[in-house]
């Protein structure tokens, strides 16, 4: 039953995770903690208190020098020129066909210094891609080994983190960053996350990893902070309808199809993939990403066929139980003609076609502060 782990990369917290009894598994070439006390318990802790995730497997790329904004504008589809210092935007690297190389976060540190956070499974690919298209004389640095990364997510996150940092977190808006100290550790603090809750992502020298982890756990356990793994990270992001590379987005999918039109700013000027996107926009898309919930008893999972009027018409990209909604939910590609909320569909679960229904997304939105 055990899988071979020789050759998998390990984060600086690997020993700590095993000491805590985490169930480990392979993800993106890394051996990562999937769960500690249980996926459902960890998921609910993030929604009601806070969870601490080791996401050091993610990739980091620094882009510096006079040509850096022009390079970023060329290789991404969102408009990075809108960013002010210390501001962050969700964006994507696109192929000339307008499909996804990766989805990324673009951080502006300063006029000639940008920082990208990219998916673990695509880190090398993204770095090579950006270098390949760097005809702007920018300096592109693969900096992943320089950072450990933790995500502290949940309504209690700010209260837990504030006493540890020299930055006013109350004044930090969502999708903004600050450089500061966490204890005596230099830390990049960003108000971002992949859970649909308020929270922070913290980047710092890997040598300080256990120290930072322990500082956070000591500060937060009284408020219900628990360690959380990739299992809960996936159920949380699914409820918040956030895309996962290799599932909702890939080099076969465009932002129009993936319901990510808001990430594309055609008016910003030329960029890789723009021509193809304009063409597809004019021609219209054939399939679209939608959210569904199971109506019959069963779970529609990744890769399961979607049937419309008894005929196979689409596929589930991500699906599973929703601990917060207590339903089984998922995302799927279906023909545009049958993609409206309320549309009855079926999901083929092994030998049976189980009824389901298209619903509006996100499935879960965090409550607005009082």
């Amino acid at each position: 039953m055990s899988s071979p782990t020789v050759g998998l990369r390990k984060t600086a917290l690997h020993t700590l995770h095993k000491k805590m009894g985490a169930r480990m598994a392979e993800f993106g070439g890394w051996e990562m903690p999937i769960e500690y006390s249980g996926i459902i318990q960890e998921h609910c802790a993030v929604r009601t208190a806070a969870g601490l995730f080791d996401i050091s497997h993610m990739g980091e790329i620094l882009i510096e020098g006079a040509g850096c904004l022009r390079l970023i504008q060329h290789v991404t589809c969102n408009d990075a020129s809108r960013l002010k210092d210390e501001q962050i935007q969700y964006s994507a690297l696109l192929t000339p066909e307008g499909t996804f190389v990766d989805d990324i976060l673009v951080h502006r540190f300063g006029v000639d210094r940008y920082f990208l956070c990219v998916n673990a499974s695509n880190a090398q690919k993204d770095f090579d891609w950006i270098c390949q298209h760097n005809s702007f004389d920018a300096k592109v640095i693969h900096a992943s080994h320089q950072y450990s990364q933790l995500a502290l997510q949940g309504p209690k996150a700010q209260g837990i983190l504030q006493p540890l940092v020299n930055v006013d977190l109350k004044a930090m808006k969502y999708y903004w960053l600050k450089h500061g100290n966490l204890g005596d550790v230099d830390c990049l603090i960003t108000r971002t996350g992949y859970t649909g809750e308020d929270g922070f992502e913290l980047y710092f020298d890997p040598g300080s990893s256990e120290r930072v982890w322990n500082l956070l756990m000591d500060a937060g356990s009284g408020d219900g902070l628990i360690p959380a793994g990739l299992g809960a990270r996936n159920t949380l992001r699914l409820e918040a309808k956030m895309a996962l590379y290799g599932h909702e987005i890939s080099d076969q999918i465009t932002p129009w199809e993936a319901d990510l039109a808001w990430v594309v700013k055609l008016e910003k000027g030329n960029f890789l993939g723009k021509e193809a996107l304009v063409k597809q926009h004019e021609a219209g898309i054939q399939k679209r990403l939608i959210g569904f919930e199971m109506v019959g008893k069963g779970i529609g999972r990744d890769g399961y066929p979607v049937l419309i009027n008894g005929q196979e018409a689409g596929v589930v990209t991500s699906g599973g139980p929703s601990p917060s909604l207590k339903k089984n939910i998922g995302l799927a590609y279906v023909p545009v003609s049958h993609s409206n909320p309320g549309q009855e569909i079926e999901v083929q679960v092994r030998t049976q076609a189980i009824p389901a229904r298209i619903v509006t997304t996100p499935f879960y939105t965090r409550p607005k502060p009082a």
Binding site: R23, I34, G38, I39, G231, N234, K297, R301, P321
Partner: protein, 130 residues
């Protein structure tokens, strides 16, 4: 970890408790621990028959679907309908309220091929050491 002495076990981590010619079947503590939170159990219908080692049920955790194999051939007499609304019974009480099916054995002699609780405990220890 519990290994009730009144059960016999398979290497695929199913348990069998026999009363006359009726076998109650479920999955073991080791199995439910490996699965994590059980969120769905797909059970057969009463009257269906299964051969030894044939898949008769599926148990689903948050992340995965696992097949459950019939330990001894027979006909399903009763299924545990409580698992429909309360799949977590498999985690909470795998040898009791978390039972899957009761079946009428075709050949009780097949029970001899299964492990007793000591043999199964040893098997689990060896597997975990790998």
């Amino acid at each position: 970890m519990k290994f009730p002495a009144d059960c016999v076990y398979t290497k695929e981590h199913e348990w069998v408790r026999v009363h006359e010619d009726v076998a109650t079947v479920g999955i073991t503590e080791h199995a439910q621990k490996e699965l994590g939170d059980v969120v769905f159990v797909e059970l057969p219908k009463s009257g269906e028959t299964f051969d030894t080692k044939e898949t008769f049920a599926n148990v689903e955790s948050v992340k995965a679907v696992s097949e459950v194999f019939c330990p001894v051939a027979g006909k399903i007499l009763e299924v545990n309908n409580a698992l429909s609304d309360s799949p977590q019974l498999v985690n909470e009480d795998c040898y009791g309220d978390g039972w899957f099916v009761k079946l009428k054995m075709s050949d009780a002699a097949e029970l001899k091929d299964l492990l007793n609780h000591e043999e199964y405990a040893e098997f689990v220890a060896e597997e975990s050491a790998e």
